[in-house]
Amino acid sequence: MKKLMITAMSILSLLTVAACGQSAPQQSAPAQNAPAASAPATTKTPKSGADQKIASMSIHLTNNLLALGITPVGSVIGGDVKAFLPHVADRLKDTKPLGVVTDPDMEAVLALKPDVIYLDEAYSGKDVAKFEKIAPTHVFNLDEGTWRDTLKKTGALVKREAEAETFIADYEEQTKRVKGLIHDKLGDGAKVMAIRVTAKELRVFGMKRPMGPILFEDLGLQPANGVEKIDKAYAVISQEVLPDFDADAIFVVVNAGDEAKKVYDQLQANPLWQGLTAVKKNQIYIIGAQPWLDYSAIGNKMAMDEAEAFFKK
């Protein structure tokens, strides 16, 4: 009798599990074509333009808004620093933190009652339906074009196209100046690379965002041997192959935290590092993870400010 009960119970629970399994794809089905559906959603927006209450679910979109002089009412925070990114924190004092992008605080979003929500497709693409229940939603794909395209798109949404154009024009102007400064310092045909030292591994930045576009497109620098083959954000390498890149200048991001600093200290003490061309030429530039890795209008602009300060000396 008892056995029968157990069997019956397990069949029941199996059925429940199976039912859950079925319902899941049904929920996610509308999410897949959501980007298309979100376009007409703007018509429902009560307010439009710059006075909208915007909830930004991407730190990069937040920083694009800041570049246009708009402060979102709520924004996700940086996953690593567990706070608003340090280079823009002072401009987000009145902005409500909405959790980390990979685990957004939906209750906080709900409580904000935003007029519109901005999403990054790479992170929130699957959850568009959830956000649409709260407010009309715009999905951005940050890999479409450069940050300039995203900024222009944002500018059109908040009716600040002119500001977007001015910002981009200023950036191009500054880039030209910095390009000249770098050329004066490094000389003709200098090959550069950017690396990141973390506690666990050594990374070389590739041709894709965040570092590729600013170094190799905007500033027109020549990638060090092998960097051009890294067709993604970064590749993990062994310290052993560092000399093979034969870079004339190296931009170094050292992660926050004692372990990463320790790894970098050890690296610097290593004769292998001391033998690198860039080290011998004294062309190692320590750059901050922020703003350099913030692929947004403000991030790149502030990175360019830093570069200008480096190479002016």
Binding site: E240, P243, V263, Q266, P271
Partner: protein
């Protein structure tokens, strides 16, 4: 007869150690020919990049693996002997728990402590964990029996681990602490070997003197006492030696379990119950296991590295099972 078996096994193990060390030094992201590896070892040229790679990146790491493998294995062998507990290793002395607890404290209250100090602090933590366990075990009437030591060890380790977790959660240090705990040999450089080598080797030199007494103690404290062995003294010395060996190892590479547990068993299967033989053989076999495990951890998914403790288990368990099945003897 027994002497010949031991000599053969020992020499074969030493040969295996030398071979695996050479193999480990030859393997890496940068392709370097075996002849270059050989030239580096006998005639190091500090201006040659390949020589630098071997001398600065690979050699200290492999030497460190061998030293630490030997240290963990001998610590485990001694603890299994004096406690007559086949599941003992330096972990029951609270070495890992003590070190982790103190590291958690220093992360929380002295976040800018230089790395070399962190190692000293974690070693002191390991020693404090052991002293605490020893005092707790001895304070009960009847003194420190192997069973009491084991129970006190488990209780104190559990307590210290939960306190460390509490600190880590409260101060949001879980990630840093987990990273320290997982450790690994990648951070071993010549500067570490400079003090690690003398400490481990000098301590290892002591251990053969303990062999005879521990062999007797493995038969039971009464038997050992009747043979005229000062069991209490041997116990204390074995604990001191174990805590030094395991403590410096943990402070250098974090917690690498399993070496201390499994290697003494393997040694016992090969050469019998005489600790005068088990201890030196454990040292060499532990070195082989850790050198190979570290090589494996580097080879699985280069240039990323697998956690060394995962690899130790993957290399060690199959061989252990094979030995255990082949010969279901006693220890």
């Amino acid at each position: 007869m027994k002497g010949t078996v031991f000599s053969t096994v020992f020499l074969l193990t030493v040969a295996a150690l030398l071979m695996s060390m050479f193999l480990a030094i030859s393997y890496g992201a940068k392709e370097i020919t075996l002849s270059t590896v050989w030239t580096t070892l006998i005639n190091y040229d500090p201006s040659d990049t390949s020589h630098q790679i071997i001398h600065e990146l690979r050699l200290p790491r492999v030497l460190g693996a061998a030293l630490i493998g030997a240290a963990f294995a001998v610590a485990g062998a001694l603890m299994q002997g004096v406690t007559r507990n086949p599941l003992a290793d330096a972990g029951i002395l609270g070495v890992n728990a003590g070190a982790t607890f103190v590291v958690a404290l220093s992360f929380a209250f002295f976040p800018n402590l230089p790395y070399s100090w962190l190692m000293v602090v974690s070693f002191l933590g390991a020693v404090m964990g052991t002293v605490f366990i020893f005092l707790l075990g001895s304070s009960t009437p009847g003194g420190l029996t192997p069973l009491r030591l084991t129970v006190a060890g488990s209780v104190v380790a559990a307590l210290l681990h939960s306190l460390s977790s509490g600190i880590a959660i409260y101060f949001e240090l879980s990630q840093d602490l987990a990273f320290w705990y997982a450790g690994g040999l990648a951070g071993i450089k010549w500067m570490h070997l400079k003090w690690l080598t003398p400490v481990v080797l000098l301590t290892l030199l002591w251990t053969p003197l303990l062999g005879r007494s521990i062999s007797a103690m493995a038969l039971g404290n009464d038997v050992a006492s009747n043979l005229g062995i000062k069991t209490k003294r041997v116990q204390v010395i074995a604990i001191i030696v174990s805590v030094i060996l395991a403590g410096v190892s943990v402070s250098a590479v974090g917690s690498i379990g399993f070496v201390g547990l499994v290697i003494p068993h393997m040694a016992r299967k090969l050469v019998g119950v005489d600790y005068r033989l088990i201890v030196p053989l454990s040292a060499v076999m532990g070195a082989v296991l850790l050198v190979l495990a570290d090589l494996g951890a580097r080879m699985v998914n280069p240039p990323k590295e697998l956690a060394i403790s995962v690899m130790v288990a993957m290399v060690g368990v199959p061989f252990f099972l094979y030995l255990a099945r082949r010969e279901r003897g006693s220890y």
